[in-house]
Amino acid sequence: MKPGVPRSHIKIIMGFTLFNVLLWISSIVLAATHNIHLSAETLPNGQHGYKMLSHTSSDGSTPTYPNEATIPGPTVFVKQGDVLNVTLTNNTPLNVGLSPGSIEATPGETQSFTYTANDVGTLAYYDKDSHLVGLFGALVVDNADGSVDNFIDENGTIVASKRADLDKEFVMFMIGSTFWGAEIVNGTQMPLWTNPTLGAVKDDVVRFHILSLGPGHTWHLHAHRWPDKASTSIIDVKLLNDISDSHSFTIKAGAGVGTGYWQYHCHLFSHMEAGMAGKFHVVAKGEAGNSIAGASPSGSIFLNSSDAPGLVTFEISDEPGQWFRSIRGDALSPITKTKSLEIIPPGSSVHFIMSDTNAVHTITSLLWPSDADDPDHGDHRAIPFNQTKAYKGGGILKLDVPGLYVFTCKIHPYMFGAVIVDDPATSGLDLGESIDIITGINDLPTSSDLATRLLRTFFVATVQENWQDYTSSKPWHPNYPSVDVRISGGAVANLKTVLESRYGQDIKLASLFNPTTPGVGEVWINTQFEKTAGKTKPGTITVLDAATWKIKGKIALPEINMNNPHNMWSNRDQSIIFQTQWFDNKLTFINRKDGRLINNIQIGNTPSHVVTLPTNDDLTVAINGENGVRIIPAGTMVPEPMIMTQLPGQTAAGPHGHWVTPDGKLIVTPNVNTSDIGLYDTTTGGIVARTPAGGVFPAAPHPLAVGVSVDKVYTTNLLDHSMNVSGLDGTLIKTINLIADYDPVSPTGPDTIKDRDGDGLVTVGVLPIQTPVDPTGRVVVTANTGGSITIIDTTLDKVVAMLPCDPGCHGVNFGAKLGGGYYAYVTSKFSNELIVVDVDLNNPANSSIAGRISLVADKSVPADDQIIKLAGTGGQGVYAIPNVYNGWVQNLPDQWKANLTAAQLEPVQ
């Protein structure tokens, strides 16, 4: 700092003293009374915002407010000690409140409260439930003498400033991964919407109010610096902590650095990747320095024409099917038949906000129009949209190239949201000439079977009503939108007609039947989407008695709002079930005998699978949203630090469906985020090997689950439709192409699926997931989301049989069959039955479906909560008690061993 600074310090100190005296007087004499009438409104894109209806003040002047509801809402400027009589009229269909008041107005209702502005500073007013989707604004409480934050000039002098000296003020809310801005110039407020270009003239004195609600951020403005509030510490990055925080500061535009487009952005790396940036444009004196508003909820989108760029918003949700839910989904779905499809013209933007989820996610392009990522034109800086690792926040991107865009989450790869960018000049909604897929398939015609098969999968996965109900006598009737779409070659076709003619309609579902030979023990199934009355989050555990094939119980755990229970394991004596909550950060301990909660602990973001070490019964929990496997010593519920799945500073691996070798020496993880298979030493925690998953299309094979035989590891590559076979030292032995008999590129026809590899069999495993090896090591059973079960003979390492499965076929695990042998229990997300596969260990090709069992409980079944919706659906993790895998079966207590044969007790001879 300059030598002259102490003098200005004295000035500041004197100023403060004077100010404090004035403040004391002002609170008695000068306090103004404000009558403020706000309303809550719904904006054209379905978001909500506050609008100023009237503001009068006993001290006279009030700002000129926008005459519409805006995000952020109107900025309310008052002085310390002022009294605010606030009235809120709720014109939305939701209950809306206004913190810091404690009111809540029902739809159509008006409520009031009085608030005294005791503390100087900028704070957010907001609705406690809907703040992440627009119901927020800033309340600025200034010092009674009008003094504002000091700024630092180009000579390093800290300069005191008053509100009257300001050329303009910006309010910038950091919400999800998007800035929502407003500008105040000479008492006139202008909405600037999302990621605006903020304009200023060189040497303008500009105050910024930065606010955040929800997950935290760091604010950074290039080339400018400011005192951190009243301190003399000069900063250019400021933390806005989780939940609610604010920071205000004053700068002299371009001081010491000159004119230019200076970027402002959140400095959280994931948020930068999600598009959380804009420009601060400092122009030379004599120029205008106007700001430019960004994409807005009132701008141009399907069903709302406007000259301004528009914005559609997807809420990221834990609600089954609606993982990407357009906030105006109710208005769109009569046309689109899903809440997860949005339509915009070129130049408008799509916005994501993780407002209804407890998990971390990525917002990742699954497919996009082929020319959207062209380096010469298009949006190659934004497409494919992706972030390095899972995070909390949101995302925003502008789309200029017409065609179909589908987004997913790398951690939860069945979450889908789609956007059609439709050129209004062409007939039919533009699906585009061709698409590129994240797996490295380029220029796939939109008329191809794979393109329409993916579209059909999208409409099945995102619409609860399109899921298969095996308790209904009606045929399966998925609804598709009856809209004209423009596809390859400029052809225009009706989408519903195309999908129904290619994939059928009113399909008769198979009949349910019990296996003739009982199983041993119990089968625990994560019916992950089943909804109950006592909690907001979905998911139950369905417990099946393998001796009678009757449902013994339903466990929802409403007391902990159990959220998307995904996978299970048990301790050695089979008394405790360990349950992961995949859209949350919890691991739950459940008493197997009575289904009661033992404990619910924070374990890490988005835990996926849990497996014990056969050697000592320690728990290993894959932390799918992060970068390691968490260990909990046997008999305790206190996690130790993680076994890290990568070296320090490397990209988080995101392990999903891991396994442990029967000798307990190695943890094997499919690393979804880094596309490799990790082998980790359970004693040292060190990395033994990380084998690139490769696959047929090596761009992002997405290894998701593993099975371990006596000497090999089998890993499914979800997005690559392939299976890697590797050794226990990590050596890749073979990649099995599960779609060798499938022609993805041609339009659907009789030859789409046929024996192309000449092995005499027609087998297709589209989107393979769980893939355990039976306890003897002979057979791999794989659940393929595309609706098939494939059987691999490990002596040949090839697919020897295919069995039918349901849409969203997902989980597999082995349990003992009474009298010898094993059943593979197979679950499906988008149906409500369990498929029992009788595995033929002598001739795996002869494996067959032994039974189909409803997962819907009747009223007589004991349950800890009332089932209200999606009964029996969402089948994912499945776990048979007793655990009969080699390495574990030997440690069973005697009473569990009693029902097993000698061969089952020592499966590997």
Binding site: M1, T157, G256, K389
Partner: protein, 350 residues
Amino acid sequence: MDLKSRADFSACDKNWLCVRRKNQSSHCSAEWIILPVLIFLISIFPYAGDVVAEQPATGNHHHIEMFADKPHPDYEYLAYRMVRHEVTDRNGLTTDITSRYSAAAIIPGPTIIMDEGDVADITLYNQIPNPERIELHENVSLHVHGVHYDIISDGTLKYINLVQDEGATLVQSYTYRWNAAPGTAGTWPYHDHNMNTHNGAEDKGLFGALIVNPASNIAAINQGGSSQAISLSSIEKDYILYILDDTFVGTEINRQTGQQIPIWTNPTLSAQSGSNIRLHLIALGTNLHQFKLPGYSWPEPGTPNIIEEKAIGPLEKHVVVIQAGSNSSYMDTTFAGKAQNMIGSLNVNP
């Protein structure tokens, strides 16, 4: 587990010497060495005369050349490496201080130390082999925080600054001017803002610290529960501790000799009992952190307050000056920090 990971990370640094003439890794093909060296040689000559005209009268003028490297072909890490650092003082006397730095590419990158009032011209060379994408002329850059620079030294792409791509490509170096003008004293991050995407590859290791020592020559320390000014010359060591999402990673700087030593992940810090050390904390990544050093408290920068922990978000900086007393451990006490064992020792020698 922690030690094992650390050993792995340090071990790979032995091979992080792609462009070091003496110790060439067998993984490096010759073209990736010859091309940058040529650029390097060509650019030295016109460069010196260019900047003298703007030599400021107030402080020292730094001439710095750095490489952005891929230290090991099998790992995704990228890192900066100091090639030349000369300082010309206001009397025109030039000192070469290159030998203070590690000769290898390191994480964090070389710590650039300036005095308030100094100016630096920094030329960056792109040594990151990328034969598959050479046609893209992919940029790597230096974006610095805190100090003054004009729009062409922002280190961003034209996509952002609407002037030009401000980075080094495989065939073109880029020179930045940083002006540590009065009022910019403090510790600041510098990092890439261009590589791979417009977000840059800061998360791959392309980051370092700039220390602008104040003209006042004063730091603040906690003495008996209140903030007391001490002379900067009483500080024996500077430690740079970057706080990444999963680890601390650091550099030790001897303030007497200026020598910089990379000390890698969750390093053990050491100090003579009674000596003053200064920790420069900068976070980088996506996680928020809570820094603690149990048994110690320090002045909150720019205030009279004494604090014993600090919330730090990505690219925030926080400077802690302490007098070494008892052994302790620095740590991130957030849930993620504990789960990942983000902790290291402070050893105080009697």
